[in-house]
């Protein structure tokens, strides 16, 4: 048997690791580009702005787009204040105690709960127990609880990154704790918080399982009138037209997938640019 010199071993191992990385990266490029290439021909203003017709087999996806926007805005209204307040507590108020560790553990666990379990919980608490019915408001509440851990952990990181001296100076000039947070710490941490908010809401926009039983509608002939109506949503619509509707034209499926993927990727790019803009602009 030939014994490899350690330099040869290194070369072989590096080649294997490099190939594995390529094998991970290439499918990602294929996934994204194949969706966009096949979907590009289906996407037009008409497709975006029309109601579905003919059992969703023709027409557009307007109600699904509007529904996803409603859900994202509603989720933001609930989860941003709660998540940011929670992050402020962890970074500015909490001591390193047993209870603080419990909170952190709860956040980690909340982030790991399967999305369909959120759906069950939303059904049990919001739809049935609080009697909100299958509605936009129940879906938003469910999605909020799923989004909050993402917002808390990124916002806390952003708040902690603000140097202690900023706080010391502010308090030294006679500001109260809350004045210091509102006028000094929050503005400095804003871009980081914004990144977290975008990432969290992005997750809410793409999820299907939590809204399955809490507010998503298979098909609606008109737009929802109030927050107590059901709504169509992009991810659920894609699920419906790719599994539940026979003889569905593939172009509409690819078109819907393209719109959803574009929506999510644009939000991702937005978050990344906010982050890099913040790094460049930082005053410390």
């Amino acid at each position: 048997m030939i014994r490899l010199s350690r330099h040869h071993t290194e070369r072989i191992v590096f080649a294997v690791i490099g190939l594995a990385s390529v094998a991970t990266a290439v499918p990602i490029i294929i996934i994204v580009s194949s969706i966009f290439f096949s979907g590009a021909e289906a996407v037009s203003w008409q497709f975006l702005l029309e109601m579905p017709r003919d059992g969703m087999r023709s027409g557009g996806i307007w109600p699904a787009i509007i529904g996803t926007i409603y859900l994202v805005v509603g989720t933001g209204l609930i989860s941003i204040p709660l998540g940011v307040a929670s992050a402020i507590y962890l970074s500015e108020y909490a001591a390193d105690s047993y209870w603080t560790r419990m909170i952190r553990l709860a956040i980690v666990n909340l982030a790991g709960i399967p999305s369909v379990v959120y759906g069950l919980f939303g059904l049990g608490l919001f739809v049935l127990f609080l009697d909100l019915g299958s509605s936009i408001v129940a879906a938003c509440l469910t999605l909020s609880i799923m989004t909050i851990p993402v917002i808390i952990s990124t916002a806390e990181e952003a708040l902690r990154a603000v140097p202690q001296s900023f706080r010391v100076v502010s308090v030294g000039m006679g500001a109260t704790r809350w004045q210091t947070i509102r006028r000094v710490v929050l503005p400095q941490a804003l871009p980081g918080i914004l990144t977290g908010v975008i990432l969290g809401l992005n997750r809410a926009a793409g999820e299907t399982a939590p809204i399955l039983f809490t507010g998503a509608a298979f098909f609606l002939p008109k737009l929802p009138n109030s927050i107590f109506d059901q709504t169509m949503a992009l991810p659920y619509h894609l699920f419906v037209i790719s599994t539940q509707v026979p003889e569905m034209p593939i172009t509409i499926q690819y078109g819907t997938a393209t719109v959803l993927l574009a929506f999510v990727l644009i939000m991702n790019i937005l978050a990344a640019s906010v982050r890099s803009w913040q790094r460049r602009k930082r005053e410390w």
Binding site: F14, I103, A106, P114, V116, L125
Partner: protein, 305 residues
């Protein structure tokens, strides 16, 4: 002080008090939510055990219409699909993390990192859709199977969902290894690979372990992708051959059936029991993962001080 200033100060103090109270209460929201989720899952699943014996649940037939609620097919389905996904995601994920953190030149790192993040952002329905239209036909033709909607198809896609988690957590862990460790090994004449294998990886091992656990946790909990591509047949999975038949996971069962059951029926309560199992599994995975990280951090603090 005139009266207006006194009023202002009082107002300030009141505002400060109210705001701090709100912030403190919000601080505990995560604990409240985890508690509420657990309570509701318990409350809605407990009636199951009044109506069914343990052996009714621990049996091999899932056929709710005739009141057969054996969860073994669903458990074994989840298990084998997750194992299949782990088998793909762990080696590829860890090797990609090592490549990004230790080997790749800077320009390649700047391309690979965002690319993996993009995969993490792809909604699960989009992956499921591609699974149906592209991967499933490929699997059927290449492996000469009657259908492409198999556990294997699901495992491949789940691996895709687990890889971003594994790569980002493992890469963070490798990045956190002090540069002095590597410099010392290289100065002693070790090759770069020897340094990675004998020094960097062992130093980052708890982070790497956490990465694999969180990745697997992600795979167990995935719903839409597996529901769309695994064929949704609640059959028993026994052995590796089952990878190539249609199966169904616990998550997909809840998602597929909850919309059609009557609230408060036995079927409804059984589905909540499955949700409770999933919740407890994710709790175990996450608590263990953070315990591993916590212990590792203590050790590092000791070593560096």
């Amino acid at each position: 002080m005139n009266s207006k200033m006194i009023f202002n100060t009082k107002y300030r103090q009141l505002l400060e008090f109210v705001v701090e109270a709100i912030i403190r209460i919000s601080g505990y929201s995560a604990v409240v939510f985890v508690g509420l989720i657990f309570l509701f899952l318990m409350q809605e699943s407990l009636p199951t055990f009044g109506e069914l014996q343990a052996r009714d649940l621990w049996s091999q037939r899932w056929y709710p219409i005739e009141n057969y609620f054996g969860v073994l097919p669903l458990l074994s389905g989840s298990l084998i699909i997750t194992l299949g996904a782990a088998f793909i995601a762990i080696p590829f994920g860890l090797m990609t993390a090592i490549f990004i953190a230790e080997i790749a030149p800077l320009w390649l790192r700047e391309i690979l990192k965002p690319l993996v993040e993009v995969l993490g952002g792809v909604p699960s329905v989009v992956l499921g859709f591609l699974g149906i239209t592209v991967l499933a036909p490929l699997v059927r033709e290449e492996l000469y199977l009657p259908t492409g909607l198999t556990a294997f198809t699901g495992a491949v896609l789940l691996a895709g969902m687990a890889i971003p988690t594994i790569v980002s957590v493992a890469e963070d862990a490798l990045d956190a290894v002090p540069k002095a460790y590597r410099d010392a090994a290289l100065a002693l004449g070790a090759t770069r690979w020897q340094t990675i294998w004998r020094v960097t990886l062992p130093a980052a091992r708890s982070g790497v372990l956490t990465a694999t656990m969180l990745g697997i946790g992600r795979a167990i909990g995935e719903t839409m992708t597996v529901m769309m591509v695994t064929g949704n047949a609640p059959q028993m999975a026994s052995g590796l051959g089952s990878l190539f038949i249609s199966l169904r996971t616990m998550t997909a069962t809840i998602a597929a059936e909850m919309g059609e059951v009557a609230n408060g029926s036995l079927h409804y309560h059984v589905l909540f029991s499955i949700g409770l199992i999933l919740f407890l599994v994710s709790l175990t995975v996450n608590i263990t993962a953070s315990a591993v990280l916590f212990r590792a951090r203590k050790r590092t603090e000791r070593l560096l001080s």
